[in-house]
Amino acid sequence: MRISLKSIGMTVKLLAIVALSAGLIMSPAMTGGVQAEVKKLKILSNNPFSGKAASWGFSQDRGVGLAVDKVNQAGGIKINGETYMWEKIQCDNRYIPADAVSCLKRGVAQGAKFMCTLGGAVTKPQIPLINKDKIVTIAAIAGGADFTNANNKYLFRTMPSADLTIAIEGIKIYKKLGVKKLVLLTADNVLGHSDAKTLKNALKVNKMSDILVAEEFVPIDTGDFTPVLTRVLAKNPDHIEGGAWPAAGLALLIKQARELGYKGTFTNLSGAPKVGPLVKIGGKKNVEGVIMLRLWPPDQLPTQAFKDYWAEYRKLYKQDPGANSWESYMAFMHLSAAVEKAQSLDPDKIVAVMRDLKIVSLLGELQLIGKDNPLLPGYGINNQYTSPLPVTVLKDGNPIIYK
């Protein structure tokens, strides 16, 4: 065989291509191999940091971040004599289910055994992986027994589910308001659909099914509700339930309904939108009297710890905290305490401790419920956090506790 310059060149090229492609794929394995002195416990913040749900993602991430700092400043946690520090790693899932799965896989690969996430749509596809890899997860999700059930041992719900909000508080509020014609106008996503299911069930149980005159689902980024409002207002409702709109969506919904001459009342029981943007976008006059759950009026905070949290959050981020920030803060404190109490990193042991552990946190006593609770049908497991649930109404642009 004659060795020509060309064939040498070819061989060199070939070797280069092989080395380059293998190197590119292996590059993540090469980075960050140095082991830290202090042992780390990693929690993955699998949240949307861009896109329409970004404000929820930041709020949740910041809540967990504050909790992580708090525990670390107190010296971390000790397990079997060794000190562990918490580390939060971020992954932007853009509120897209596939990206959330990718994020979880990345997190697992980076050694995260714990996770916080939000949104039913993005949590649902993660469940098989959470169960398989035993990732202890605190998640802000509304749907009911679809998420919290005996099969999903590692998934803890930080926010009150629709069974606690719509099915219990909601019915109370509807009765108090004397609602005769109810319209559900909610987001066309997992949350909205599960809210609808819960609402219909609750109405049935309370023999009020006939008050629901219409249900509509529209995309979460809808700007102009006029067409769909024209459709539902033709049924002359006296109450509109928004379910789980973020601030801008709810504000536009209310504003445009008022512009079309709607005189009735509004509730938004699943979501806890920020009041500032809600009032600004919707207009102070329009949003007057809107009833929401999980929102604390800044001047009526129940405990000193909560006031401190509020002040610290304001100082750091120049805005009021959102509901899922303190809910995930409390849940993380609880999780961290459980890890220390379990004296083990075995997820099974940790979750067993979590279910029975009661701690005092921002809003007083925090505990997990769900098992054998007639109000929470089908849960069968203590994986639902509870804490006092305020009912708030907007008055003159400010939230006050609804009597």
């Binding site: 066309d188 024209t230 805005q319």
Partner: protein, 283 residues
């Protein structure tokens, strides 16, 4: 309800017409599909927000400031990025995508994630016969949109600048022989399109909310419109805007939101397949 749907359709149509005008113009003059249209819409809305709510200017003064500032921004983008590549259609398209992503990403960094609102100075409710209602702000935005569109018609159809722009569009080489600086004319056209987008942002955002991605949905609507109307055809896009307004209004009210959305894109595909030159095309 019929009356209400018709009114909503008219209002949406006027809004869509304004939102699509800049996009039509830029395609008409430069044959460039401007994917950064939504970003300029957003920047216009943000500029209006900062001018009114932060600096405290009266709303219409803020709008006037937008009209003064955005031609410069548009011309800068044209000179900096698009001029050298505009003869390659894909490069032009992708470059506008790049500008879109860059500016929206920066927008989230600079303006933050909290949604903002600009309030329109005129409020109130107008009751129409047939049980329909029309909010005063929507009426005014619609009327201003029609006025702006009339202005665009005058500018393009009756003024020397408009003649030059059309000359460049029809034959850049012959336009050069007339003593028209084709490069500069295209920069002017692009600046005009960007200003219209920003103006639409400043006006339409008063009806909705403002955040760094608030231009995406209007841009989607604008795209449907300019395809339906025939790319670059101003009259076609005006007609298409009202068609889409009525589709959204009647479809959304009678069949539900997603149906309206689906019908819009369905119509686009049908038009593109069977009459790519649009409803007003010559073919």
């Amino acid at each position: 309800m019929f009356m209400q749907m018709a009114v909503t359709g008219l209002v949406l149509g006027s809004i869509y017409m304004l939102v699509a005008s800049g996009l039509t113009l830029i395609y008409g003059i430069m044959h460039q599909v401007n994917m950064a249209h939504g970003v300029f819409f957003m920047l216009g809305a943000m500029a209006t927000y900062y001018a009114t709510e932060v600096i405290g200017l009266p709303y219409f003064v803020a709008l006037f400031a937008v009209v003064l500032v955005f031609p410069i921004i548009g011309a800068a983008f044209e000179r900096g990025i698009f001029r050298n590549i505009r003869h390659i259609w894909l490069a032009g398209y992708m470059a506008t995508v790049g500008v879109w992503m860059l500016m929206e990403g920066l927008g989230w960094q600079v303006f933050g994630t909290e949604q903002k609102a600009v309030s329109f100075p005129i409020t109130g409710l107008i009751r129409l016969p047939g049980g329909a209602v029309l909010p005063a702000n929507k009426l005014w935005v619609g009327l201003i949109a029609i006025a702006i569109m009339a202005g665009v018609y005058y500018l393009v159809g009756r003024t020397a600048l408009g003649r030059q722009l059309r000359a460049v569009e029809q034959n850049p080489r012959a336009a050069e022989l007339m003593g028209i600086n084709a490069d500069r004319a295209m920069a002017k056209g692009f600046a005009l399109g960007v200003t219209l987008a920003a103006l639409a942002g400043g006006l339409v955002s008063t009806l909705y909310s403002v955040d760094p991605s608030c231009g995406s949905t209007p841009m989607l609507k604008a795209f449907i419109i300019i395809i339906l109307g025939g790319l670059g055809n101003v009259t076609g896009s005006v007609i298409a805007a009202y068609i889409l307004g009525f589709i959204d209004s009647f479809g959304g009210s009678l069949l539900g939101y997603q149906a309206g959305h689906f019908m819009g894109f369905g119509l686009v595909i049908l038009i593109l397949i069977f009459k790519p030159s649009g409803i007003m095309g010559d073919e």
